[in-house]
């Protein structure tokens, strides 16, 4: 296997605090990003994702640990000597230069011949479909166009790694969705490694080959979008990516990959899929996503089914919302435990009595493979 495009080895970054203390922005982070990969750092604000990116770019230096680009230890190499280029959240276009001058800037710094600069600027602007805009100033362009200029300006340098710091954050939702697909296509076309920082889980799922979920300066899980969504390894990841229902409880039995959990104060037992090493008596949470559980009106019909004797519980519907593709139902389990269930509207029904209504008494079925048992954080 070839060298990873970017490697972080036990990187720590500590910032001094105005009130005399210190902040551990990045706490012992290690990861490897492969060549040509679209890799996302995902997490809430203040989780250390931007600091990690800035350390790869060279704007910050690690307090301890090492950063390698293409196998080369970066140490205190300044940004202008690193084979990485950045697309800034604010774009940071040079307002006093034209679009063409902005894109040419990085090539001029390399002292390339004028003819080559002109050719490459032209190609870069064509790549982001801004050929006709070359003589305008950044202020004369829309937000989406400025974003493309920032992209062209960084990509024209043909970096080993392109670093993107929430590049779509300032765009409106519709444009953001378009740009997500466009960015992904562009990345596949140029084949450059992208390191993408975002707090938007939908964005990360749509574009990434792999995602690192971060919180409080640490990486909690690294995996493909499917792994991260389907098999979160802790409560934070399950909660941060998509929506889910949690039931806190205690492990009372283990059977291979399954665990039997007794949720607090409900007087029931739930069979679920054990994640990681669990022991009887351990505190856990069950995570069940709203689209992976369902309401059943006549559970007795299911008797004899391999799984149906377990994980069926009486619930009371307290609220429903029809949102077109599915119906979102809030139901109460036991006395007060709220659960969200998304029922897909895959039949064409107009009769309102066919839908659940407030006050309906019914049963909830949680398929055991959809109930992930996670160690309590």
């Amino acid at each position: 296997m070839s060298l990873p495009a970017v490697e972080l080895r036990d990187v720590v970054k500590v910032f001094p605090n105005p009130d005399g203390g210190v902040v551990n922005a990045v706490n012992h982070v290690s990861l490897q990003i492969q060549n040509g990969e679209f890799f996302s750092l995902l997490g809430p604000s203040g989780c250390g994702k931007t600091t990690s990116l800035r350390m790869i770019a060279g704007f910050e230096w690690p307090t301890s640990g090492e950063i390698l680009i293409k196998g080369e230890v970066m140490g205190h190499t300044p940004p202008f000597h690193r084979p990485a280029n950045t697309v800034f959240q604010s774009y940071a276009l040079f307002q006093h230069m034209t679009i063409a001058q902005n894109v040419a800037f990085g090539l001029e710094m390399e002292h390339l011949p004028k003819s080559e600069i002109e050719l490459r600027v032209e190609q870069a602007l064509a790549m982001v479909q801004l050929t006709m805009m070359d003589l305008r100033k950044p202020k004369q362009l829309s937000g989406g166009q400025q974003q493309r200029v920032a992209l062209a300006r960084a990509l024209v340098k043909r970096p080993a790694v392109l670093l993107l710091d929430e590049p779509l954050g300032a765009l409106d939702l519709k444009l953001r969705k378009e740009m997500q697909l466009e960015l992904k296509a562009l990345q596949e076309q140029v084949g450059i490694t992208f390191v993408y920082v975002t707090h938007d889980q939908g964005e990360a799922l749509t574009m990434s080959d792999r995602i690192a979920v971060m919180n409080r300066g640490q990486i909690l899980q690294i995996g493909s979008p499917v792994e991260i969504y389907e098999r979160p390894n802790c409560r934070f990841v399950a909660d941060f990516i998509g929506e889910t229902n949690f039931l806190a409880g205690m492990v009372i039995g283990l059977d291979g990959e399954h665990a039997v959990v007794q949720p607090d104060g409900l007087g029931i037992t739930v069979l679920g899929l054990a994640q990681g090493d669990l022991k009887p008596g351990q505190r856990v949470v069950i995570s069940a996503r709203p689209e992976k559980i369902r309401l059943e009106q006549a559970p007795e019909l299911k008797v004899g089914d391999a799984h149906s004797h377990k994980n069926i519980f009486p619930v009371r519907v307290i609220n429903t919302a029809y949102v077109g593709s599915d119906t979102r139902i809030i139901a109460i389990l036991g006395l007060e435990h709220r659960l969200i269930i998304w029922e897909q509207n895959n039949k064409s029904i107009l009769d309102p009595t066919e839908f659940y209504a407030q006050g309906d008494e019914t049963f909830l079925y949680i398929p055991p493979e959809n109930a992930l048992v996670l160690a309590e954080d």
Binding site: F59, H96, F105, G106, M109, K139
Partner: protein, 284 residues
Amino acid sequence: MRQDPRAQGLTLISPTLFYLGVFMLFPLLLVVALSFMTRGPYGNVVYRINLDNYARLIDPLYLRILLYSLRVAFATTVFTIVIGFPLAYYIARVPVRQRNLLLFLILVPFWTNFIIRIYAWIMILRTEGLLNTLLLNLGIIQVPLDILYSPTAVLIGMVYEFLPFMVLPLYTSLEKIEMAQLEAAADLGAPPWRAFLRITLPLSVPGMIAGSILVFIPAMGMFVVPDLMGGAKTVLVGNLIRNQFLTARDWPFGAAASMLLLTLTLVVTLVYTRRAGFGEELLV
């Protein structure tokens, strides 16, 4: 009820028109009118319209004074940029709390009367003054320097007086430059000095232009500094005008010299701002 939009607009700007009319246009017209009159035998103004005052101004003596004033004002502007730029750059880069303190310190001298501050400079620069005493005691010089009452002293006084007018607009321009712009330059391969030449310097041009105008125009009319620090040797156009009004009591000739100064200042400022691109998107 519909109103004529033009009448409406006129009503809205009438306070401004009134202010400009009373405090700018009317006094200016008085000076213009005065410049075409004649001095009476006892220093009074005789209302006889002629061009004699302007004819007198063509004298090489006055033209030399005018040219010298231009040179002093230009040198003052250049020196305030050279000294003011590093200062403004430093202030724009320190943490916000220190920044406010430093800006405050720049403005503190304005609390003291200008004349008193000039006398303080006289104390520093004169033959037995602070500067000479210090240099003599340190053994750097053997004979006291004759700085006071020389063109150098005038320049020192002018640069001192006008420095804040250069520092403040320069600071405003420099402070507006986002850190991300310089990071982007570094990211694209520019070492700090190239980033300075390609990003910081061009983006500070609007402040430099504004500062130059604020320094150059009053420097052209300055008479207090040459009076007190230049001795009798240095006469600027400001002194000439002052002398005509107060000493020679020749108001019409003073008014004509004022008109010449006004015209010259306008032309220089216009040419300068045109060439520097003032009013284009530089000032965003």
